[in-house]
């Protein structure tokens, strides 16, 4: 066939080795080069590089990477199993060997149909670009950042406020974007209320300190009440009108024109999932939905535990499905720069004759969310929120309250304090005037 295959001894192992990580391959290449063995043959050099006058001279690293990519074992490509078996039995080991053939030749030699041969070659070409100029500027793993870039991003990152300033403070500003947050709590403590409040708060215009986004609500428990959301939205609109009234700038008034009850409700996209299959299916379809509705900044899954807590005899399947779900949600949070929130139930753990309430779905589920908020009651029947797990804020507990207007701070009545001016920062609520409504 005219191709020379490298004897196995150069690679230092037997032929049937599975794909090894690129870094290891490179190390070995470097060490072999140091020994004076340089096995790039002239006829294998791509045209763009062999003196055709291309202006960019590829860096040695890019060349090494290209070379390593070409030598990648076929088993690491997402080919269909039947085709892969046939290719291996025909003696093909690496991508490079395949790329030299045309589809018709490949199909004849291996015994697969022409369409399958074409598909296989396309898959390999897509993952292993022959064009060197692509390598010159872009690194192989395109999602590499330095910590400085991440720091800049984090500074400009928005938060979704909850209207409870104590809670916002312990969370560093509110629910952060690009991260997943879990809200656990006993029934009736306010998890769904917080979710509904956030679905309204994500739409607050930017000049008031919000992120001006839309929300997706995946409901598995059926506890979404439209009338309540309408109440929350009305209260939010009134609150913003009050703030805008004290500002003389035009942009506040203009932003408020589009911020009405109708627009808030039309930007909450609601899906009712009756069982875990529908939930899984909808999460599979969410990336396409996000492409169509690019302003979505918040995904809420209300009741991620509910469909998984019954009908599951096979716990390992449940763990696998939950982990897959969590991974998809995390990748959506990262790629589309949105916040993902899910609510979890509490379950009783009996430990040495003492029972305590712990979040449901097991210990391993605790790793899925980046931030964990636990809502609970205390002895005096007031509601507390504890920031249980967070990578950047310390653990703290605050009081919160749920009023007719929604999720708010607990108001400590102080009749002697003078009326406070509404401050410039719209996140800080004024103490009086609002609560008397």
């Amino acid at each position: 066939m005219g191709t020379s295959r490298f004897p196995p001894s150069i690679w230092g192992g037997d032929r049937k080795r599975s794909a090894e990580p690129l870094s290891q391959l490179l190390l070995r290449l470097m060490s072999l080069r140091g020994r004076g063995l340089w096995f790039r043959r002239p006829e294998r050099i791509p045209d763009a590089w062999a003196g055709s006058g291309s202006p960019t001279s590829p860096s040695p690293r890019a060349v090494e990477l290209l070379f390593a990519a070409m030598q990648r074992h076929l088993g690491s490509y997402p080919l269909s199993p039947g085709v892969r078996v046939k290719l291996v039995s025909a003696g093909f080991q690496t991508a490079e060997e395949l790329l030299e053939l045309k589809p018709s030749e490949l199909s004849r030699e291996v015994g697969i149909s022409k369409e399958e041969a074409l598909e296989t070659l396309q898959i390999i070409k897509r993952e292993c670009p022959v064009d060197l100029s692509r390598f010159a500027s872009v690194s192989i793993s395109g999602k590499k950042y330095t910590a400085l870039e991440l720091l800049e991003q984090e500074h400009t990152q928005g938060f979704i406020i909850t209207f409870c300033s104590a809670l916002d403070n312990i969370m560093g500003g509110g629910i952060p974007l690009t991260k997943t947050t879990e809200i656990c709590g006993a029934p009736g403590v306010g998890k769904t209320q917080l979710c509904m409040q956030l679905a309204v708060d994500v739409q607050i215009p930017e000049c008031f300190g919000g992120v001006a986004g839309e929300a997706i609500f995946l409901d598995t428990e059926g506890s979404f009440m439209v009338d309540r959301v309408a109440d929350l939205a009305t209260a939010c609109v009134q609150h913003l009108h009050l703030i805008a009234g004290s500002h003389l700038e035009e942009e506040h008034q203009k932003a408020l024109e589009n911020f009405s009850l109708e627009s808030i409700l039309s930007h909450i996209y609601y899906f009712r999932c009756h069982n875990y299959t529908e939930l899984l299916a909808q999460v599979h379809l969410l990336p396409d939905f996000l492409l169509e509705h690019s302003k979505v900044q918040l995904i809420i899954v209300d009741g991620i535990a509910f469909p998984f807590r019954h009908d599951f005899d096979d716990l390992s399947l449940r763990t696998r499905l939950l982990n897959g779900l969590a991974q998809q949600l995390i990748s959506m949070a990262n790629n589309h720069k949105l916040a993902v929130i899910w609510t979890n139930q509490m379950t009783t753990k009996i430990d040495k004759n003492q029972s305590m309430l712990v979040p449901a779905l097991g210990e391993s589920w605790g790793h899925a969310a980046t931030i964990r908020l636990i809502l609970h009651w205390d002895q005096k029947q007031s509601r507390l929120a504890t920031l249980h797990k967070s990578p950047s804020q310390k653990e703290a507990t605050v009081l919160f309250d749920i009023t007719a207007q929604g999720f708010r701070d607990v108001v400590v009545p102080s009749p002697l304090s003078p009326p406070v001016e509404p401050s410039g920062n719209p996140r800080k609520r004024s103490r009086d005037g609002r609560e008397e409504e």
């Binding site: 029934p187 506890s223 009338d227 039309s266 379809l285 509910f306 019954h310 379950t347």
Partner: protein, 298 residues
Amino acid sequence: MATKKLTRIGLSQDLCDRLSRHQVVTCQDFLCLSPLELMKVTGQSYQGVSELLYVVSRACAPQMQTAYEMKLEKSGGPSSAFLATTLISLDEALHGGVACGSLTEITGPSGCGKTQFCMMMSVLATLPTGMGGLEGAVIYIDTESAFSAERLIRIAEFRFPSFFNTEEKLLSMSSKIHLYKELTCNEVLKRIESLEEEIISNRVKLLIIDSVASVVRKEFDTQLQGNMRERSNFLAREASLLKYLAEEFSIIVGGSVDCTRPRNSRVWVPMRPHILLICVTLSLNSNCLPLTALLPWN
């Protein structure tokens, strides 16, 4: 629709045959497999498997509605949104009455009046809409044999003497209440699963289960090790079935649950508070039996 068969969503016949050889028949089976397993089972490449996943997900994913559309739907039929309990302060606290389309739990210690409350609600549901009723039938699942037809008639007679002035009306009212006696957990579950046809054919508007906790307490002893999980499995399944029925047919579903009082506490706690939505608690603390409604936002 999780149990939608793959043959109906437009996949090619030989692909469906291939999948059924591996016991993958419904959308649910398909979505439970990982991409690698799917590649092995279908013999397609990763790209092909992603497309198949998309098609299957499309077939069983729920429809999208914006909250605004939901609000418009609701305001289209305000009269059927609530069933007023005729206890004025309770109706005020509940913003109209017991809500349609959701699950309501009625709890209290024994003897405080839960079954009486359920019987009164049954009478109210059969009244015509002009009088504040739902003009529909009632399904009453009784697990404690506490339902007394005599008492039902007495309630109707004394509560609405002007309406139930003839024996005929009383009899027609009682014929609209369908009573099922189920004494074990499995029977209760089977009965709930088979209710759809009855609900549609008899135009049922109210479903009452009296009581949810007694069957569970009889069969699951929480002192034993594995029983907690089985019990919560059963209850979660029951809750999700009831919620589905409530939402699908826009009916009122009420379950009564006993209360226990844990040691060292003065507060009565519903027996298994994890799952249900609105909790109307009857408490025995004073003479006139105040009803405290624990709403999500009070």
